[in-house]
């Protein structure tokens, strides 16, 4: 998953906010405050546009996108 497009996108979000892009697979992104809600909206827009994910699902919860590992699971379930 090191060079995956979603990881590149998350690293871009971190870089734009002056944060280190050296994150572990399980590091929390949003619940730790590393990324804010505006970054979350950018990620959600990216997931919809690039991966065709419908976030209107009643069970959607931002904690499902909280780490690279979470994102990997989320995208595999959405595929």
């Amino acid at each position: 998953m090191t060079d995956s497009p979603i990881r590149s996108f998350v690293e871009q979000l971190l870089s734009e906010r002056g944060k280190s892009t050296d994150i572990a697979h399980s590091d929390p992104l949003f619940t730790s405050g590393l990324l804010d809600s505006m970054a979350a909206t950018e990620l959600m827009l990216h997931l919809e546009a690039e991966h065709g994910v419908d976030l209107a699902d009643a069970d959607f919860d931002i904690s499902r996108l909280d780490s690279m590992a979470d994102l990997e699971v989320f995208l595999s379930q959405a595929a």
Binding site: P28, G33, D36, M44, A58, D59, D61, I62, S63
Partner: protein, 494 residues
């Protein structure tokens, strides 16, 4: 170097304050200190010092401090049973302090007079706590099983419908009746725990496997706080849980550092209040507004001074308060993020909102922003963000404060009571509009634009916005919206 020497390793002893500051700030990465804090005796000493620092701030009641001291002491002696101690302490806390604000306590004392004296307000409150725990367990059971149908697919909406229904019934029954005496305390206890219950229910969709019964009992963590839960829920806490002795020691050292920082800020706050209110002749902003409204307006320079000082004192108050609570959470073994992080560094309104009261912002984002963003106006990104922001900073913000203060509807005229919230409606609306504009503008200035454009001008804008918005930040009903607007205009000689 002795085992308790806090000097950075490999450096010479120095008397420089900066050197000692660096040494202090690095105690959570100093292996000797970590090893000491990991020991049984070290953990006990650390907990003792921590409680003494909390006491020195004088920001906690003796009862709250006592419960925290006992809980942390037990956690230091029995670190493997931290979760059980957290559960028991939190249950004790909800029993000792079932209401977040005094308005509810006062109301329940009044209502208890309708019941036999043998029950009293304490008996009535205890009964309400048990009923709310039962409601929480039943509600979570319905959500988990799916038996609640469509309504429980939207747990927050469902909980709001149930709570407002109970409020409406409490308002409808005769004021002096037994039904009124029983219903109002339940409404009050429930609203005190409303948002942590919302988080607990939301948690059940995630990976956290905490049993439903324990979730229902965890209505108010023993570290206290406002109705916006600091530390959110088990799922959130577990993401920051110390998993071994070393992590626990590091987390506790971070807790001590934060508590000491809160103590330093308490000193600054005390001096600031003394200088502003006892030496410089300024008054709290609320007093300046009421003086203006009652025809005894203070000089313009005093009003301006009070407005500016109020902003900085408010930042200090929220920082001290949040740091102390987060420090207790960390001392319990959960290294959660701070509630307030350098708000003066904010270069946009949305950044300030994130840095000022993180866990309240999180509540609004989790329960209002994300659900709205995920569902509505998906074809237009700007409108989508604006609507979601309005739902969070406008609707959510107002609902949070309105629901918390509904004890006022226990007596008096409905319309007159609703008028109490006029400033809060305006405040929420202006905040939402400000945040929407801030987000639409995005990051306007880059470092290359120069120090003034990048650092100074955006920060001055943020300070000015929140300084003036504070004029309307009122839920007491003292000073109408028009009177507050008149005060704001008077600052410019209008």
């Amino acid at each position: 170097m002795s085992a308790v020497d806090i000097q950075p390793q490999g450096r010479q002893m120095s008397l420089s304050p900066l050197h000692w500051r660096r040494a202090w700030l690095s105690i959570d990465s100093n292996e000797r200190i970590i090893a000491l804090a990991s020991s049984y005796l070290g953990g006990l000493i650390l907990s003792g010092i921590f409680v003494l620092v909390l006491a020195a701030t004088t920001k906690m009641s003796m009862a709250a401090l006592g419960l925290i001291a006992v809980s942390l002491g037990l956690m230091a002696v029995l670190p493997a049973h931290r979760f059980a101690i957290l559960m028991v302490s939190s249950l004790a806390y909800v029993g000792l302090r079932p209401f977040r604000i005094e308005g509810w306590s006062d109301l329940v004392s009044t209502k208890a007079s309708a019941l036999p004296s043998v029950i009293g307000s304490q008996g009535l409150t205890a009964l309400s706590v048990v009923i709310v725990i039962a409601i929480a367990a039943l509600f979570m059971g319905l959500v988990k099983s799916g038996l609640g149908g469509r309504l429980t697919k939207r747990p927050l909406v469902a909980q709001m419908v149930l709570w407002f229904s109970l409020l409406a019934i409490a308002m409808a029954v005769p004021a002096g009746s037994v039904a009124s005496a029983v219903l109002w305390p339940i409404v009050g206890v429930w609203i005190s725990c409303f948002w942590i219950l919302a988080y607990s229910v939301a948690d059940m969709r995630g990976k956290d496997a905490t049993p439903l019964t324990l979730r229902a009992l965890f209505l108010r963590p023993f570290w206290g706080g406002s109705a916006a839960p600091i530390g959110k829920s088990f799922g959130y806490l577990n993401r920051f849980k110390a998993n071994d002795d070393r992590e626990l020691a590091v987390t506790r050292l971070k807790a001590l550092k934060l508590a000491v920082w809160a103590l330093v800020l308490t000193g600054i706050l005390t001096v600031a209040q003394w200088a502003a209110y006892e030496q410089a002749g300024l008054v709290p902003l609320h007093n300046a507004i009421i003086a203006h409204a009652t025809g005894a307006a203070l000089p313009g320079v005093v009003n301006w001074g009070s407005l500016l000082v109020n902003y900085f004192i408010d930042l200090l108050i929220i920082s001290v308060w949040g740091h102390l609570i987060v420090a207790v959470v960390r001392m319990s073994g959960y290294c959660i993020p701070r509630n307030t992080v350098n708000p003066l560094a904010s270069r946009s309104l949305s950044e300030f909102w994130n840095r000022y009261f993180y866990y309240f912002k999180e509540l609004l984002v989790d329960f209002f922003f994300y659900p709205a963003f995920a569902r509505y106006f998906k074809k237009n990104t700007k409108v989508r963000i604006a609507f979601a922001t309005f739902c969070a900073a406008g609707v959510g913000n107002f609902m949070y404060h309105f629901m918390r203060e509904t004890y006022v509807f226990a007596e008096g005229d409905l319309i007159a009571n609703l008028a109490i919230f006029q400033s809060a409606v305006f405040y929420s609306l202006v905040l939402a509009i400000g945040l929407v504009i801030s987000q639409w503008r995005g990051r306007k200035f880059a470092r290359e634009d120069g120090f003034l454009a990048y650092h100074v001008w955006p920060r001055m804008n943020v300070i000015a916005f929140f300084c003036f918005l504070k004029i309307f930040d009122d839920i007491s009903g003292e000073g109408t919206l028009v009177e507050r607007a008149d005060f704001a205009l008077s600052l410019f000689g209008v």
